[in-house]
Each structure stands twice: as structure tokens, then as C-alpha cells.
């Protein structure tokens, strides 16, 4: 327990909770919109932002935020009409973003040890300055999702009907992808962009079948994510394991236990 007094552990807990909330809220929207692949595309293309930050020696997090937003808006512009071809466009951006990141890092002189932390997360190395930026991002996500809750719900549930009702579906598509980009960037520090998808999908998927509303789905997904992050963090410290991967495996284990429990209950009640 004296671990809790260490500043880097405190930072890790703060960062973990903030990322868990962002992923709980945005993951819910992504899951009900069936846009998990799109979130994956943004997460991986975000690596281009890492490359840009290294090459031009810019501060990492703001740079990845800007680059991810840029990729998200390109994706939004290319997908808002041709929804049928979305997966192909996402695949292209996914690959191009990562390739750009790798080339820029290659061109950067010197060996960058820190790079792996962006891929696989380094929650124990989150600097205090990043916590403030993360807080601002979570605040922004929560504010915008609250402001546009009815519109986001409407578009997610029935896009065509929303359009008939005069809801601005195209700007909302941009807003949704932009917010996904922000949540992805935040999570990079914690579990790494390779593993972002688990925090986006596991909790919302578990909650989706039981929540009475999208808002409750967001709340419960966030709570579950916090539980995954904190218990994963504890286990990783206790057994000296990679934190990002441990968090994901904790979530996956919970997922398996929960789903088989629910399956058993259904079988027994029939």
C-alpha cells in the first residue's frame, strides 16, 4: 500500500481513471454506431502523429492530438456519404498513418527508446504535465457529449430518420470521429495504441445488452473500465508485468467470466 504514496503511481492512477472514462464514453458511442473498425483506424493512424512529434521535436501529446484529429476529419469527410465503402477507406488510412509514423521516426537522428511506450503504453511513466492535458480532454469530451447527447443518440439510433427531423447528421459525424480521436490519444499513454481497442469495446459490449439508455451505457462502461485499469495496474505492479497488456488481459478475463456466467444462467433458467 505504500506504493500509493509514490508520485508516479499516483500519476498512473489518475491517468488510468481519465482514460477509462474517455474510453467508456466514446467506446459506447463507437460500439452502438458499429464503428469499432473506424476507431481502430484512428488509433493506428495516430502513430503518424508520433512520427511527426519525433521528427520535428515537438511535444508528443499535443502533436498526436492534432494529427489524430486531422486523420479523423479526413476519415469523416471520406465516409459520411459512401458508408458502404467505409471499411476500405479506413484500411487505407490505417496503413498510411502507421507507415508515415515509421518513416518519420527512421529519419529522426538518434535512437528513441521511448517509442515502444506509444505502441504498448507506459502508464507508470505518465508525466504530471500530461495529466492536466488529459483532464482537459476528458472535460472536453464530457462537455461535448452532454451538449449534443440528444443529437448523437438520434443519429446513432436512426441516421435517416434524424436527417428527416432536420438533425445535422454530417457535422455530427465529424464531431463523433473527432471525439473518438481525442479519446484514442488519451489512451495511448495508458495502454498504448495497439491495445486501445480493448478499452473501447470490452466494457461497452458487456453493458450494451443490459443498459436502459445510451447514457447509462456510458456510465457503466466507464465504471467497468476504471475497474479494469486499476486492477490491471495492481496486478502488473505486484507481478512485475507490462501494465498495458495486464490491463487488457484483466478486462478479457472479466469478459470471459461474465459472459460464461450469463450463458450458464440462461441455460439454467430454460
Amino acid at each position: 500500500m505504500e506504493l500509493l504514496h509514490l508520485p508516479f503511481i499516483q500519476n498512473a492512477i489518475c491517468a488510468g481513471i481519465l482514460a477509462a472514462i474517455a474510453c467508456g464514453v466514446m467506446g459506447s458511442l463507437v460500439v452502438v454506431n458499429r464503428s469499432v473498425f473506424m476507431a481502430g483506424g484512428i488509433a493506428h493512424a495516430a502513430y503518424g502523429g508520433v512520427g511527426v512529434a519525433f521528427y520535428f521535436a515537438l511535444p508528443a501529446l499535443p502533436c498526436i492530438v492534432a494529427f489524430s484529429l486531422f486523420i479523423a476529419f479526413i476519415m469523416a469527410a471520406l465516409t459520411y456519404k459512401r458508408r458502404g465503402r467505409m471499411d476500405t477507406i479506413i484500411g487505407v488510412l490505417w496503413a498510411v498513418g502507421m507507415a508515415l509514423g515509421i518513416i518519420l521516426v527512421d529519419l529522426t537522428p538518434g535512437y528513441n527508446v521511448d517509442l515502444m511506450s506509444f505502441l504498448f503504453g507506459s502508464i507508470l511513466a505518465v508525466p504530471h504535465s500530461d495529466i492536466h492535458l488529459m483532464m482537459a480532454l476528458v472535460g472536453l469530451i464530457a462537455f461535448l457529449v452532454t451538449c449534443f447527447y440528444k443529437d448523437l443518440l438520434s443519429v446513432s439510433y436512426d441516421r435517416e430518420f434524424s436527417q428527416v427531423r432536420g438533425v445535422k447528421v454530417v457535422p455530427l459525424h465529424f464531431l463523433l470521429l473527432g471525439l473518438v480521436a481525442l479519446a484514442v490519444v488519451m489512451t495511448i499513454r495508458v495502454v498504448g495504441l495497439i491495445l486501445v481497442m480493448a478499452l473501447f469495446t470490452i466494457a461497452p459490449y458487456l453493458v450494451e445488452k443490459y443498459a436502459g439508455s445510451l447514457a447509462m451505457m456510458m456510465v457503466w462502461s466507464s465504471i467497468l473500465n476504471i475497474f479494469f485499469v486499476l486492477s490491471g495496474l495492481f496486478i502488473s505492479c505486484r507481478f512485475d508485468l507490462t501494465s498495458g497488456a495486464t490491463i487488457i488481459l484483466t478486462a478479457a478475463l472479466f469478459f470471459i467470466v461474465f459472459e460464461s456466467g450469463a450463458w450458464l444462467l440462461r441455460k439454467l433458467s430454460i
Binding site: T146, C147, K150, Y157, E160, F161, Q163, R165, S213
Partner: protein, 273 residues
């Protein structure tokens, strides 16, 4: 009872409208005027362009050519004054939303910027649910509903904004015959206040409430009475007529006989209703 069809205000106007998906033409040079207070059935073969026609009128699809007016305005301006019940679609069944909240979404476009719906809006939604007989299920999750219940919920969503014109795409799918009669009676009552346009591929489903028929098969033919003549059938459907003629002892019209006197008891029947 005086006919509500006496008004001469057009609610839908299409002039020389053509629409194609990529290069496949769906609708060609469509001219159509529907007047206020009408109760229109849009019929035609599957793939003939019925749903496309409705989506063009609602502004969901933009025709490559021609002029579209809904309630006197371009559709993007006026579509929120219309009620729309889309074709029942499967999928997205796990969406975490309750029946009442689905109906509330019918108030988008007229609701405030406040993030959540207000008490009066919930009351309105409950009234709409009551109208379609779904009030007891208002707190149920949508994925616990049967197909027919979901249809009625979507009808309540279309009605909650007090629309001036109501569009229904295949409203009778998933509903048994007793339910269909009830639904038509409800629509007949609503028709006193609003124009009703519904799409069906089942010509057996022309109830006594229907006042006119639009046949759609790339071209569009407006027939100002609910009698379907064999000429219409041949002209619109050709050899590959996929119409289902269901005669189930209910006061529904089926295809008229050959050489049936045109509009024989059409008007007298309406007046006695």
C-alpha cells in the same frame, strides 16, 4: 360525411424528377401532385422505386433532375413538418434504448438545445404511445419488443411531432390481419388531420380509407381513386407482376373485375362511411 379530399393545396409536387443509383435509372421523368388531406397508397413491384420516391420527397435522396416540393418548400426545409415511419429493418437490435426514448427522438428538430428531453415532451411521447396502444410498454427496451410492437413504436415516433403529412413505408409488414385493420382505422382517423402516404407491395392491402393510388415502376402513375383497374396493373407491372392479391374477407379492395364500370360505387361508398 364531407370528403376531406376537397382541399386543393398541394402537399407534394414532383416535376420531371429523374433519379438513378450510379447509372441504373430508378425513376424517370416523374410528375406527381398530391393534395392536402389525401390518403395515398404507393404500390408497385419490389425494386420499382416506391421507397426511393418517398426518400426523394423527404430529401433523403437528391434527384439528378427535376423539382421536388414538400409542403411548398424544398424537402430539407420542410421535412421536419412531416412524420416518417421507415421500413422495418432488422439489425441494431441491441441498441440500449427504451420505447419512450425512441418516441422522444421524433421530437428532434423541434426540441430545445438542452441536452435532455423535458417533462412536457415526455408527456407528448406518452400520448403518442397511447394512440398506438404501446403506453404499457413505454419503459421496455426496444430489443424486447416483437416486430409488430416495434412498428407501432416507430409509428408513435412519426406522430409525436404532430406532422402535417405522414409517410409510412410498408407499415403492414410484421402485423397480423386483425392488427392491420386496426392500424388502418387509426390511420383513417389521423387522416382527418393530416395527409397520409403509405408504401405497400401488397395490393390486397388497400383499405376502404385509401382515397388514391400511385403506381410506381420507374414511371409514376397517379390514380385519383382507390380502384385498381386491370389496365393499371398491366401497365405498371407488366408480365412480371409480383403483386400479392390477398382477399381475406375484410373490407379491402382487390383488383377490379375486367370491364368494371369505372369508379362505380367509389364515391357513394365513401360518402356513406
Amino acid at each position: 360525411m364531407p370528403s376531406t379530399k376537397s382541399s386543393s393545396t398541394p402537399v407534394i409536387e414532383l416535376k420531371d424528377v429523374s433519379f438513378s443509383f450510379d447509372s441504373a435509372p430508378v425513376l424517370k421523368d416523374v410528375n406527381l401532385t398530391i393534395l392536402k388531406g389525401d390518403f395515398v397508397a404507393i404500390i408497385g413491384p419490389n425494386g420499382g422505386g416506391k421507397t426511393t420516391l418517398v426518400k426523394i420527397v423527404l430529401g433523403l435522396l437528391k434527384p439528378q433532375k427535376g423539382l421536388v416540393r414538400l409542403l411548398g418548400n424544398p424537402p430539407d426545409k420542410s421535412s421536419k413538418r412531416a412524420g416518417y415511419m421507415p421500413q422495418y429493418a432488422t439489425g441494431e437490435k441491441d441498441f440500449p434504448i427504451r420505447v419512450l426514448d425512441v418516441v422522444l427522438l421524433g421530437l428532434m428538430g423541434v426540441t430545445s438545445r438542452w441536452p435532455f428531453f423535458q417533462k412536457e415532451e415526455k408527456k407528448k411521447a406518452e400520448q403518442a404511445l397511447d394512440l398506438v396502444g404501446m403506453l404499457p410498454s413505454s419503459q421496455k427496451r426496444v430489443n424486447d419488443l416483437s416486430g409488430g410492437q416495434l412498428q407501432r413504436t416507430l409509428l408513435a415516433r412519426a406522430l409525436v411531432s404532430d406532422p402535417e403529412i405522414l409517410f409510412l413505408d410498408e407499415p403492414m409488414a410484421n402485423i397480423d390481419i386483425g392488427g392491420q385493420t386496426k392500424l388502418f382505422d387509426l390511420l383513417g382517423k389521423l387522416n382527418e388531420k393530416m395527409t397520409i402516404v403509405f408504401v405497400t407491395h401488397d395490393v390486397g392491402l388497400l383499405s376502404r380509407h385509401v382515397k388514391s393510388v400511385v403506381c410506381v415502376n420507374q414511371t409514376v402513375f397517379f390514380h385519383p381513386s382507390a380502384q385498381i383497374t386491370p389496365e393499371m396493373a398491366t401497365m405498371m407491372m407488366g408480365e412480371t407482376c409480383p403483386m400479392e392479391l390477398v382477399a381475406h374477407g375484410l373490407p379491402h379492395r382487390v383488383l377490379g373485375r375486367h370491364q368494371a364500370p369505372p369508379s362505380q360505387d367509389d364515391h357513394s361508398q365513401k360518402d356513406t362511411e
